[in-house]
């Protein structure tokens, strides 16, 4: 009797998974800066990913064959540091055995991952990290939504020349790949359009006093100034330029919010300054889908989404669409090919410029439109979209490996 009961029970138990086969869990890894200097980008990015996952799981999960996958994450703090990011990637691949990794807010962590990930059997969907090498290295398994700095720099150089600027003085951070690549392509595009760069002055990562460089630029009297670097340093440059009585048009690239700028410079000192950057998440520019996202994000976190949140949010939907289209969660080669041929997911927030009708180009890079924002009445106001040639840049990206 006992034996019979055992047999019945075990049959029932064995039978159980079959009965609920539709419910499965897909574990994905997550590596980002949750503490330290990069956390201003990393934490909001993580929140956006969690929100997208919640939405996908709430809508029934990812349907692959007869199975329904609910997404679960294993997350680690990479501190936007190259060594930490390498350790995190190894942990996720070797110990946690994940096949998909999301995150990467920053060039140092993303660049370190890209340097070896090509040899691993995983797929990485990068968000905000800007260093060109993350996609230019040509790893088949890396896809990124944020376009590299030099893509935007070229559009910015053309735009400045179109504004009637003939001579340009440049003040830029000297040792951050994102900004130097942007600056170099800006100079090239500006000079091709007939402009002349009178001087390129630089500052280091910890500098906050740019008066010596600005005094020199003031003496050269160019039609306009261009300033690029992290938000704080660009804000100090605007403040000190204004204090030095520099009245020329000031362009820049930093991507900071109005609150970040007014911590350093007054609204009057910022007046008329331009920020020329890829149109990241911006509810005013991107329409009703973006407005709805702001509502959901605010409801969940009680704060506004930052401009970089959409890069990683969109990647979660890329993953869902790719798995549903490939109808597998294990055949990595097939999934890679599917992502490469993927159209833009309908939930994606950013305005992507498809290359040959696909979201990602051959090197796994996506492109969004670039825009010109100008400081008016204490805030950044969107002025216009910059002509951006995604196809031409994609062809250029094919030719380089750094």
């Amino acid at each position: 009797m006992k034996r019979l009961l055992g047999a019945v029970l075990s049959t029932a138990l064995i039978g159980t998974p079959g009965a609920f086969a539709a419910e499965k869990t897909l574990t994905i890894g997550y590596s980002d800066a949750l503490t330290g200097g990069g956390a201003v980008y990393g934490v909001p990015q993580k929140k956006a990913i969690d929100l997208a996952i919640e939405e996908i799981n709430g809508a029934g999960g990812i349907k692959v064959g007869a199975d329904n996958y609910k997404i679960k994450t294993i997350e680690y703090d990479d501190k936007a540091d190259s060594t930490e990011a390498t350790n995190v990637a190894r942990k996720l691949i070797d110990r946690d055995d994940v096949k998909f990794i999301l995150g990467y807010c920053c060039s140092a962590s993303g660049g370190a991952m890209a340097s070896f990930i090509g040899r691993e059997d995983v797929i990485v969907l990068v968000g905000t990290a800007g260093a060109r090498s993350i996609t230019s290295l040509g790893n088949k398994n890396v896809f990124r939504t944020r376009p590299p700095g030099d893509y935007t720099g070229a559009a910015a150089g053309k735009f400045i020349a179109q504004q009637g600027v003939k001579t340009l003085g440049i003040l830029a951070v000297r040792d951050v790949a994102l900004f130097t690549q942007y600056r170099d392509s800006l100079v090239k595009a500006f000079e091709e359009a007939g402009g002349k760069v009178v001087a390129i002055e630089t500052f280091g990562g910890q500098d906050r006093d740019m008066t010596a460089q600005l005094t020199k630029l003031r003496g050269l009297n160019p039609d306009a100034l261009f300033v690029s670097g992290y938000v704080e340093q660009v804000a100090f440059s605007h403040r000190q330029a204004s204090e030095l009585g520099i009245k020329t048009q000031r362009y820049g690239f930093s991507g900071g919010s109005a609150e970040q700028f007014t911590k350093v410079a007054t609204a009057e000192q910022m007046n008329g300054a331009w920020d020329l950057l890829a149109i990241e998440f911006n509810a005013d520019v991107l329409g009703p889908k973006a407005v709805a996202f702001v509502d959901r994000y605010k409801k969940k976190y009680n704060e506004n989404p930052t401009p970089n949140t959409a890069y990683a949010y969109d990647q979660v939907y890329v993953l869902r669409d790719a798995l549903q289209a490939a109808q597998t969660t294990t055949d990595m080669k097939k999934i890679q090919e599917t992502i490469r041929a993927l159209p833009i997911p309908k939930e994606a927030l950013l305005k992507y410029l498809p290359v040959n009708g696909r979201m990602f180009d051959d090197k796994g890079q996506a492109y969004i439109a670039n825009g010109a924002f100008q400081w008016k009445n204490g805030n950044w106001a969107f002025v216009k979209e910059l002509p951006s040639d995604a196809a031409a840049y994609s062809n250029f990206l094919k030719t380089i490996k750094d």
């Binding site: 002055e201 006093d209 005094t215 003031r218 704080e232 204090e243 009585g245 911590k263």
Partner: protein, 288 residues
């Protein structure tokens, strides 16, 4: 051209005055104990953070906060001397050297724990700019120069004209003889640490108002402070004043007339040049 030249001198003097304040503290401590007090930059940052905290969280005015922070700095200096350096005063110099390195890390991390990772800018109402024939002088920078000048003059008077100042000079010249003359070396050393740390805090507040207080700023400050010491002469107060101004102005000139990429390189070349030609420093007599 002339206007730019004068502008660069002004730019350099403002930054140089902050270097001087940092260097004064370092040089007095070095002159008396022979200690390279690396934690001085972190003490300065502590003062900047504290001032910001007093203003933003407690609503105390800028000037009272500044003075309170300097008082807190003086107290911190006494604690550092008693807890960290006093116990190893008779040990080999390597002990205090290692303690100085350890203190730097400890104070830096305590700053992080207490005040967070964000950069902090001390708010001031000074936003006007004075224009003299094309040379622009922001009000805030003029105040920075003036405050630094008052502190430097005050410190010089204190050392040169008062009894305690005489005691400090005596200990610096010959410790054993000073003890024999009945000078209490213990109180002199506490006084020196209090004074130096208060000056360091003042520098931190000026940096915080003019630029920002943030993790990583302290190491830059202390490196510049030691560069000034080498330029002016280790342990020399006039050397710290001249060296600080010289370093500030040469950095501005380097950026203006050579290349901003080599700004720091050129100031360090200057330092190497002084070491080669006049190793005792610009303002010290070589006889000693």
């Amino acid at each position: 051209m002339l206007i730019d030249f004068i502008q660069q001198i002004f730019n350099g003097l403002v930054v140089g005055s902050i270097y001087t304040l940092i260097a004064l503290g370092l040089t007095t401590i070095f002159g008396i104990f022979g200690i390279a007090h690396f934690a001085h930059g972190s003490v300065a940052m502590f003062g900047g953070y504290l001032t910001y905290f007093l203003i933003s969280a407690l609503g105390i005015g800028l000037l009272p906060s500044f003075i309170l922070a300097m008082a807190a700095g003086a107290l911190l200096g006494i604690v550092l001397e008693r807890v960290a350096y006093y116990p190893v005063r008779n040990a080999p110099p390597i002990n205090s050297f290692i303690i100085a390195l350890g203190l730097t890390l400890i104070i830096e991390k305590l700053n992080l724990l207490a005040f967070g990772v964000d950069q902090v800018i001390i708010p001031t109402p000074l936003v006007n700019v004075i224009n003299v024939g094309g040379v622009t002088m922001p009000e805030l920078r003029i105040y920075v120069l003036a405050i630094a000048a008052i502190l430097v003059i005050g410190m010089t008077l204190l050392i040169q004209r008062t009894w305690i100042g005489m005691a400090v000079r005596a200990v610096a010249q010959n410790r054993a003889a000073a003890v024999l003359m009945g000078i209490n070396v213990n109180s002199v050393s506490m006084f020196v640490f209090a004074l130096s740390s208060a000056l360091g805090v003042a520098a931190g507040v000026l940096v915080g108002a003019l630029f920002a207080v943030a993790p990583g700023v302290s190491s830059g400050l202390v490196i510049k402070g030691f560069a000034v010491l080498i330029l002016g002469g280790l342990g020399s107060i006039p050397g710290a004043i001249v060296g600080g101004m010289l370093l500030g102005v040469s950095e501005a000139f380097a950026a203006a007339f050579v290349s901003s990429a080599y700004k720091d390189v050129i100031s360090f070349l200057l330092m190497i040049l002084v070491l080669l030609v006049r190793p005792e420093g610009l303002m010290r007599r070589s006889s000693r």
